[in-house]
Amino acid sequence: MSSDPTFAPGCPLPAAGYALTVMAHGGGGRLMQQLLDRLIRPALDNPWLAQRHDAAVIECGGVRLAFTTDAYVVKPLFFPGGDIGKLAACGTLNDLAVAGARPLFLSAALVIEEGFPLADLKTVLTSLNAAARAAGTAVVTGDTKVVERGKGDGLYIATSGIGVIDHPQRIGPRAIRADDAVLVSGDLGRHGVAVLAAREGLGFETTVQSDCADLSALVMDLIAAGHELHCLRDLTRGGLAAALVELARDAGVDIEVDDAAIPVAPGVRAASGILGLDPLHLANEGRMVLFVPPAQADATLARLRGHPLGREAARIGVVRGGRGGVRSRSAYGTFRVIDLPSGEQLPRIC
């Protein structure tokens, strides 16, 4: 990738030398950040987008609403622990939850490839509906398109969600303070490993199930119990590492985590070791990181662990005043920088 002299400095394209979209632009890593920062955000610039949160918070007639959207593209469509329907409901519910919003309504747009079995479509929609209903919401509007065979991966789903923030807390990156405790709601990397293992051709078997789950009940429980939450972020592509790097940058703080405290299930650790992947970069679909005042951290941790979705919750680090960096401390007392993955996580050669 030599740089192209026809592109002047400051020109938003090409991101890192690419004139065409490459898969890594969607991988949750640094290339994706560059695409967002240099092309997508400038093109759509407005104050709500500038909140840089998973959901935009909108004041409307004295009511605070949270609004979010997400597109779901997963291969395979059915994986241990879920399917694209459950994923499409939970992912959007989680984006609302981490804004502190109680979910109200969802929409769903289906892009179906010619030849996709209707029985599979029914299974997926049953999952989507079940997850929406379990969260006390419903899919109240939608759209359906069919594309020619070979023009889609079976099925893509885009969902949007709207929720209400009916409490005075302002949860988001701007509320992160030095000395805040950093918690995670559970062990990391299950979704990434479950999906990789289910993919054709990887040739390894694992009992690891995706963590795909709706976190809104857990968040509502913390808020109802009076816990002060400075910031929440659900962990998706790019994993814990991407979430911490983005939040440190957006809040202008340093974050320090303790390697030994980060919960990773043995099966996930084993698969990561074999494939040369870092569990901190692996995708999750039912986990979040929480920033809470230090004096309340133990109480919040106990409350998380008392909930079925938070049994493996852990206190993993602390916020320091600083310049927006993330580092982790090993069991040997040494430090390493935690950074965004560059693009897609690519299994190594040997």
Binding site: L20, L202, Y332, T334, R348
Partner: protein, 362 residues
């Protein structure tokens, strides 16, 4: 996985670091050969546990990094042919050739398919009989047996739409080139445990003897690496230069005989250019005459001219341990993982990538 945890145990690691400090009386410079070891050292901060008089420099043991631009260009050119599907390991996709990487070739319409094994590429060829499937065979003696197996199966099954673009390289000739180079600073070598798991370590014995340099077969977990360092400095302090196996749970002196026989049947040594190191006598592998018809270059011809490395990339000096990645004028400035000048910044085993990932503060 209790096993793996034992090789990362904090008390054992601190104990080994203490023994190394107590053993070292003079300054020593060791080279860990393998990029996987480099990443473990930087990721776990093991270099910070060593006494200041003991230096670790990072060797050329990253197959992606040493693959010459000309071969990457051949892969890109093959991927652009309409009838060809190029299969390769994920690591190779982002290595820059002189006109872009394989991801860019795919984005521009080329058929590039990521596989986890050469046998997957062979399966792919059997399922797509109308396409020519080329496996970009990169790697040391560790991965070469799998390529050999794929070719032998292709012969047995009569799969004639499958070829290899062979870029396999051999470690011992590269170590000899390094140790013989003027200004060599390396006093002891930590050999790559997985290469030795296949090849054993008999072939390192004449190298250690000739250059009076101890070579210690070393693994990849923190306890393995520090055990290798300890054995190596013990030999140096004693003035001895044997080959010692500090990775006994995976390596024997003779290695994996089945894999070695397979390698000898399908491949033979050939002089090969290494990126940044020049042509190394017997530094690569090529298909033996009986398997030559599975060679992608034979089948498709070469379509690219030899490429000159850009001056701004100092990967040759990095790969031979003469330059600390952080001292490279391009490091973290014009050369980053998103915009690499050379493969040492791309590969998951490259030394520049390791420093950028674990130590670089923007």
């Amino acid at each position: 996985m209790r096993d793996l945890d034992a090789y990362r145990d904090a008390d054992t690691v601190r104990g080994l670091a203490g023994r190394i400090a107590a053993t070292v009386n003079r300054p020593w410079t060791l080279m860990e050969v393998c990029g996987g070891q480099t990443h473990a050292i930087l990721g776990f901060g093991l270099d910070h546990l060593l006494p200041p008089s003991l230096s670790l420099i990072h060797g050329p043991g990253c197959p992606v990094c040493v693959t010459p631009v000309a071969i990457v260009d051949q892969a890109v050119a093959l991927a652009r042919r309409p009838a060809v599907t190029l299969c390769t390991f994920g690591d190779m996709l982002r290595v820059p050739g002189s006109e872009g990487d394989l991801l860019a070739a795919r984005a521009a319409g080329g058929a590039v398919h990521m596989v986890y094994s050469p046998l997957d590429a062979l399966d792919y060829a059997r399922r797509q009989p109308d396409r020519q499937v080329v496996f970009f065979a990169v790697g040391f003696e560790t991965t070469a047996p799998a390529s050999a197996l794929a070719v032998r199966q292709a012969l047995r099954l009569g799969v004639d739409n499958f070829t290899l673009l062979v870029a396999h390289v051999r470690v011992p000739p590269a170590l000899e080139t390094l140790l013989a180079a003027p200004g060599n600073r390396v006093q002891g070598l930590l050999a790559a445990g997985h290469v030795c798991a296949v090849m054993g370590y008999e072939e390192y014995e004449p190298v250690a003897e000739r250059f009076r340099t101890p070579i210690v077969v070393t693994g990849f977990e923190p306890v393995d690496i520090l055990s290798g360092v300890l054995v190596c400095v013990e030999q140096l302090e004693r003035g001895e230069y044997p080959v010692v196996n500090a990775y006994g749970r995976a390596v024997t002196r003779a290695g994996n005989r089945t894999a070695r026989r397979l390698l000898e049947e399908v491949f033979r040594p050939v002089d090969r250019a290494w990126r940044g190191m020049g042509t190394i006598p017997a530094g690569g592998l090529e298909l033996t005459p009986g398997f030559r018809r599975f060679d992608a270059i034979e089948r498709f011809g070469t379509s690219v001219s030899p490429h000159v490395e850009p001056d701004r990339c100092h990967s040759g000096e990095v790969l031979t341990g003469r330059l600390d990645p952080r001292a490279c004028p391009a490091f973290g400035r014009e050369c980053t993982p998103e915009h690499p000048l050379g493969a040492t910044m791309v590969s998951s085993e490259g030394a520049c990538a390791a420093y950028y990932r674990y130590r670089h503060v923007q």
